[in-house]
């Protein structure tokens, strides 16, 4: 498992590159690699911009049926999200963006698990399985 800090824009690029390497090794198709790398980019940026920085963990996982996939966990110790359902709505934005980052990232992966409480940071775990 690789742990990568997210403190600068360069770190976001490094998370993307690492997810790409692991996704390719896992046997994801080029389109699925692109989707999971794009989702990782959104979530890493969120951790940086909204969470004040955080950590990404990238690992290979195997399903009960023997399929392999890439799992990425993002954690930050930022202010957290007061209304998770609202934050996951297309077009809802806390700032200057289009509000597609979080909701878009969810569409691009197979599993998406977000835990957040105001004041105690945010954790997002996503999985993309090979087909």
């Amino acid at each position: 498992m690789d742990e990568l800090p997210i403190r600068t824009g360069d770190d976001v690029v490094r998370v993307r590159q690492q997810v790409r390497v692991v996704a390719a090794k896992t046997g994801l198709s080029l389109v699925d690699q692109t989707k999971v790398v794009t989702a990782a980019s959104e979530l890493a940026r969120n951790a940086l911009v909204h969470g004040g920085g955080g950590l990404a963990r990238v690992e290979v996982v195997t399903s009960a049926l023997g399929k392999s996939g890439v799992r990425i966990g993002f954690t930050d110790e930022g202010p957290g999200i007061a209304d998770v359902d609202l934050a996951l709505t297309d077009g809802w934005s806390s700032g200057v963006g289009l509000g597609l980052g979080l909701s878009g990232a969810r569409r691009l992966v197979d599993e998406f698990d977000l835990t957040s409480k105001p004041g105690s940071g945010t954790s997002v775990v996503v999985v993309k399985w090979s087909r």
Partner: protein, 117 residues
């Protein structure tokens, strides 16, 4: 932070993105292009993204803004060379890149600009 170079050929500005774009680089490109459009009076901008492996919502929004900004300088922006996997991902992400024209490659992008009345 890496910067993306801008080439002027005739009345067209050419940008070929060959780096792994971080947010600051794409914001810088937007500013550099606006400066360049104002200074040169170029009528068109071609942005080649053949080498770009992902376009996420931030990069996509910045590219769409470059299209809007160039229109304020009476110039048209054409995005060329998008990879199929990027096109599929952008659509699923929900980004339509309204305001930016697209062409298959730089040559077709140039034809599009030259065909402009």
């Amino acid at each position: 932070m890496d910067r993306v170079p801008i080439l002027k050929i005739g009345t067209t500005l050419f940008v070929s993105i060959q780096i792994d774009l971080q947010d600051e680089s794409v914001v810088r490109l937007q500013e550099d292009l606006a400066d360049e459009l104002a200074a040169t009076g170029a009528r068109g901008v071609i942005i080649d993204i053949t080498a770009v492996e992902i376009v996420d919502s931030f990069i996509g929004r910045m590219l769409a803004m470059i299209g809007s900004i160039s229109r304020l300088f009476d110039a048209e922006t054409v995005l060329v060379g998008m990879r199929p996997a990027v096109a599929i991902t952008l659509t699923e992400l929900g980004l339509s890149l309204r305001g930016v024209r697209t062409a298959l490659n730089a040559e077709k992008g140039l034809e599009l600009l030259n065909g402009r009345a």
